[in-house]
Symmetry: C2
Subunit: 321 residues, 2 copies
């Protein structure tokens, strides 16, 4: 099938599927929207962690072991900063710094994050379009037993240890989605919207919390298909499971299905979860969802597109909504 | 003799003598004032090249070969920045970046450059006091056949190639000298003021261009002794000779003597220049001034102090002024 695929993604987990999609789709056929709810200002830099993880992953520059930052990175900046008494809880590699310095300079010069990201991805040889979810400021905050925390304070500085009671996406209500996102959603030839297996609360919800995105998704003619980040009763990575429990949710793909209900046409779940119950309006697609190898990423991406294309042939979502 | 020694210095050449002074004086007895006319804002950072060269030199972190920056430096930031299309004409090493990031952050937080420099030098284990000449903005500009150029544009980006016709020190007239500088000059027990063998026009003149400094120097009871950066008819390093010619000056220590006349009590010149003529009010001190080894630095520093102490015993400047 032809037409663009729109992927909504957070950082590491989502980027794995995005890489799979990038490897099986033509360059013009993939648009990736990155969560910017994790963005923050640190040491004077405008830092966009999920944008960078996607850029590095698609450019072949990502560190395959730690899941963030660049491979062959050096840490002389951090070592020197520590000696000068600077803040070192958020680790910035020497090469990675160039991204933050250049982005910060260009934002200060009046460019949008959308324009900057598009230029940087081309310079890094990334052919798929990558755009931030918005050029406005949206900040994910976690209300915890240790108070209200900014995302990076919660995630990196406090290692997700505080117990969360709710999440808020400051600025999302009034943020204007990136034109790249709105253009893709209003494209009559859009092939599919893929919600990557990122943390639904921390990485995907900031995107969906913009009212214009939710509206455009509802109007969009393409099938919307999410990949569950849960296998059995565990999250593949990160604080998803801990957070789900603290928010009073069962850790399961059934919870993910309920969470995305009304928004998605299909949910891809792992073979371990083949027997799970799903809402009637969500088609379950059963596939191995653990992505260890590059082949895993491509295979899962292909399965997602096959399911989406099948759904396009027999639309059913319209009747449910 | 007891009492503090005040050294006025630019970058590399001056820092060599400062290191010699630091090695032969007690920690409390050396105050170093750094030129900040070369300071500039680049890539969003507040950069103070001469302050840093002095810090790195006294901390034992300086690169002994290139004369600026840090030894064992890595350059991954620059390589990554180049790939992103950033400006790379001013080379910033990975560890060096920490200095600029931390200084910029603290200036933005409202600290003075004097306070920041004093804290950073302590963190780097530098016992001598190092202070910028002022916390205000003074900018050296070079009027050339290629137009009016900021110092770093002239010096680094254009490799001193444009032909200079005059120099200006923007902001010097109204700048308030650092309290560290004024306190030292008004100290009745000050042992000596040493004008290091830095470029008189580019590195020392910005300090002297602040009216309060010139006045305090004239009132100061300690001997003022300069070390010529010229040997024979050549500058030891940098654009000094080229600049002197373009400004219509003979390249010689005699020119340096005339330049500092009325301000200094003695000029240290190289043995090659032992026969030179000097104004009657300036005592010539003949020493090998080329500092190749650490021993050279210490020996010259000792000679400067010996001359200064001799002069204190038989003051003659007062009659001339």
């Amino acid at each position: 099938m032809k037409g663009q695929v729109l992927a909504l993604s957070g950082g590491v987990g989502g980027a794995k599927l995005v890489l799979g999609l990038a490897r099986i789709l033509d360059a013009d056929d993939l648009v990736v929207i990155a969560n910017t709810g994790d963005d923050f200002r640190h040491l004077g830099f405008d830092i966009s962690p999920d944008v960078d993880t996607l850029l590095y992953t698609l450019a072949g520059l990502a560190d395959p072991l730690q899941g963030w930052g660049r491979h062959d990175e050096t840490w002389n900046f951090m070592a020197a900063l520590e000696r000068l008494g600077g803040e070192t809880w958020f680790r910035l590699g020497d090469a990675d710094l160039a991204m933050h310095v250049e982005r910060t300079r260009r934002i200060a010069a009046g460019e949008t994050l959308t324009a900057i990201t598009d230029d940087l991805r081309q310079r890094l040889g990334v052919t798929a379009r990558i755009a931030p979810m918005t050029d406005d400021m949206v900040r994910t905050q976690i209300v915890t037993d240790a108070g209200r925390l900014d995302f990076q304070t919660y995630f990196v500085r406090r290692h997700c240890k505080p117990v969360a009671s709710c999440l808020q996406y400051l600025g999302a209500e009034s943020a204007t989605p990136s034109p790249v996102l709105l253009d893709a959603l209003s494209d009559a030839h859009l092939r599919a919207v893929v919600i990557c297996p990122s943390n639904p609360y921390l990485s995907i919800e900031p995107i969906l919390a913009m009212p214009a995105v939710r509206k455009a998704l509802a109007l969009c003619s393409a099938p919307v298909i999410a990949v569950s980040p849960i296998i059995g009763n565990q999250a593949v990575k990160g604080p998803t499971a801990k957070l789900m429990k603290e928010l009073g949710q069962e850790v399961s793909s059934a919870t993910i299905a309920r969470h995305y209900r009304g928004l998605i046409d299909a949910l891809v779940v792992d073979v371990q979860d083949a027997q799970m119950a799903a809402p009637a309006d969500i088609e379950l697609v059963v596939e191995p969802t653990l992505m260890l190898t590059l082949e895993d990423r491509e295979r899962l991406a292909r399965a997602v597109l096959v399911a989406a294309d099948r759904m396009s042939a027999t639309p059913k979502r319209a009747s449910v909504r």
